[in-house]
Amino acid sequence: MSVNSYKNQPDERGHFGPYGGRYVAETLMPLILEVEKTYNEAKADPAFWAQLETLQRDYVGRPSPLYYAKSATETLGGAKIYLKRDELNHTGAHKINHCLGQILVARRMGKTRIICETGAGQHGVATATVCALFDLPCTVFMGAKDIERQKPNVFRMKLLGAEVISVESGSRSLKDAINEALRDWVTNVHDTYYLIGTVNGPHPFPMMVRDFQSIIGTETREQIMKKEGRLPDTLVACIGGGSNAMGLFHPFLDDPEVRMIGVEAAGLGVNTDKHAASLAGGRPGVMHGMNSYFLQNEDGQIQEAHSISAGLDYPGIGPEHAWLFDQRRVDYVAVTDDEALEAFQFLSKTEGIIPALESSHALAHIMKIAPTLPKDHIIVMNLSGRGDKDIFTIAEKLGVKI
């Protein structure tokens, strides 16, 4: 099936083809409809965007640079590699983009308490940051397993005034943190806004988070036109839930000459039971308020994901990616823990940039394809986060004591 435009999804009920929708407990339905209404009003209000743009510029430091990674390009000896430097944003990752947008929506709704989930802690830090900025109490749900491997971010959230709740249920990871956040939201629906950290959950969250993240792709488009006078040949981004990838890809979806590659986490390998590649190893189902691809057994029980990167350690994916996968508009590949680890060290040494383990997955795929491509082939990778938070994980993997 071909479509006229890949950019006019979702439909008014939040469906991206068969995916998306609103699969939530009835208690949440009225609130979710209100989030949608408020967001639609905000979207049409120039004052909303003016406030957001000012914050993006003066608080976050946007636009983030588009950097020609000359040394990495020459070392790999093929395609020309550009890095979209979203790791230079305030708080060190792309998550701040949708946090600022959503906190303005929450304030517009008159909500007085913010909750969120976090995996690597980047979304938790960004949420805690915007809550500090707007003086709203913030509760972060984080899997006990992730708290252990992301200690610096846990401390950062606490410094910012957030309460961090350790989630012990289920696999003690991102999926369970989302369950706990949903349970809190059902309980405190009257005053609480759930600031969802990726392009998933019930409508309108996948669309709204994508819209706020699209600034990545919009800036990239302008910047590459200035530097190269043409659009890039290939875009590459890592995917957990898929927010940074959606942000980079969306403004280019209707440019057929631009190839897009989303990189899932293959953990120990997609043929093992320890990976987080929902598209490569999962199938359509319903969880966390949406229809999308999930890792699950025959009986529809959701399986634990595994990735060295806490931010990709999620057994699902945003519904728009599921749709783009079916449409074959975006190619999806998977990269293992070891490949990501190698890419992490490669960028640190060749460019003096320590990438997040999440973003290292995107780079690992570029390391595979760049040498096979001609020198005039332009690749843009979204460097979605910085790797300072990951040094303990890396040290342990490399057998180094800090």
């Binding site: 407990a25 009835e26 349970r183 529809g300 959701i302």
Partner: protein, 258 residues
């Protein structure tokens, strides 16, 4: 007349609805408890379909689902439990309650056919609001299965028609904003809302979430056509007590609303 309708018609008091998780802590124990419930005083039975990620459930029901799954529960076995139950009991309505994904993976049409054939009377699918329910609803109706809809304290009068459209059997009033097993609702708060809902529908209204003791049951029975007790029964099972202990607990609840 459906079993659910007949049950409500025959009773001149509020009905007692009891929830257990299918296969918790194992199929045999769960089957023993299930078979004993009607004699103990349960008028309608809710049988939980285990799911790995039950987002509307508190810790007690979460753990019940995990125990069941660990012991090998799956949809096929849940339906087999219903068949075994129906082999001995043709009167007591049985409603399956759970989340959509296990139904979706089983195959929605196959599930509806087999559930009806096994002797299921109705379905409560927690994460399937009316907006997403059309396929499941059409297939359920074709097999005579009731779709039991949830109403909550956040349900506005404006939203009511959407929820009531296609609802049958009874309505499940979630008396608190929260998860299963939480604190009990304030009767004075929910009473006006239930009275308002009653002006829009003739379906019986069951009140659930947070009802644990016979005293809680008696209080809530004053405003509802039925009360649902789940977490406190599941807790008894969690403590490793016998089917007999569960029966005693259910009897005490039944007496309190007689």
């Amino acid at each position: 007349m459906s079993r659910i309708e007949a049950t409500f018609k025959a009773l001149n008091r509020p009905a007692l609805i009891t929830f257990i998780m299918a296969g918790d802590p194992d199929v045999q124990t769960s089957m023993d408890v299930l078979k004993a419930l009607p004699d103990a005083g349960a008028d309608i039975i809710e049988l939980g379909m285990p799911f790995s990620d039950p987002m509307a459930d508190g810790p007690t029901i979460q753990l019940a689902g995990q125990r069941a799954l660990k012991a090998g529960a799956n949809m096929h076995r849940t339906l087999q439990m219903v068949r075994n139950f129906r082999a001995e009991n043709t009167q007591t309505p049985l409603v399956l309650m759970g989340y959509y994904n296990p139904i979706l993976q089983y195959g929605v049409e196959k599930f509806m056919n087999e559930a009806a054939e096994a002797g299921v009377d109705g379905l409560i699918i927690v994460d399937l609001p009316p907006e997403e329910a059309s396929e499941a609803q059409t297939l359920a109706k074709a097999k005579g299965l009731d779709i039991i809809r949830l109403l909550t304290p956040t349900t506005t009068e404006e939203r009511l028609p959407k929820i009531l459209e296609g609802a049958s059997g009874f309505l499940y009033y979630v008396s608190i904003t929260g998860v299963t097993g939480a604190a009990q609702a304030d009767l004075n708060k929910i009473k006006p809302h239930i009275e308002q809902i009653k002006t829009h529908t003739d379906l019986p209204i069951a009140i659930g979430f947070g009802i644990k003791t016979p005293a809680d049951a008696a209080e809530m029975a004053a405003v509802g056509d039925a009360i649902v007790v789940g977490s406190s029964i599941v807790q008894t099972i969690a403590e490793g007590q016998s089917a007999g202990a569960v029966s005693q607990q259910v009897s005490a609840l039944a007496k309190a609303i007689a």
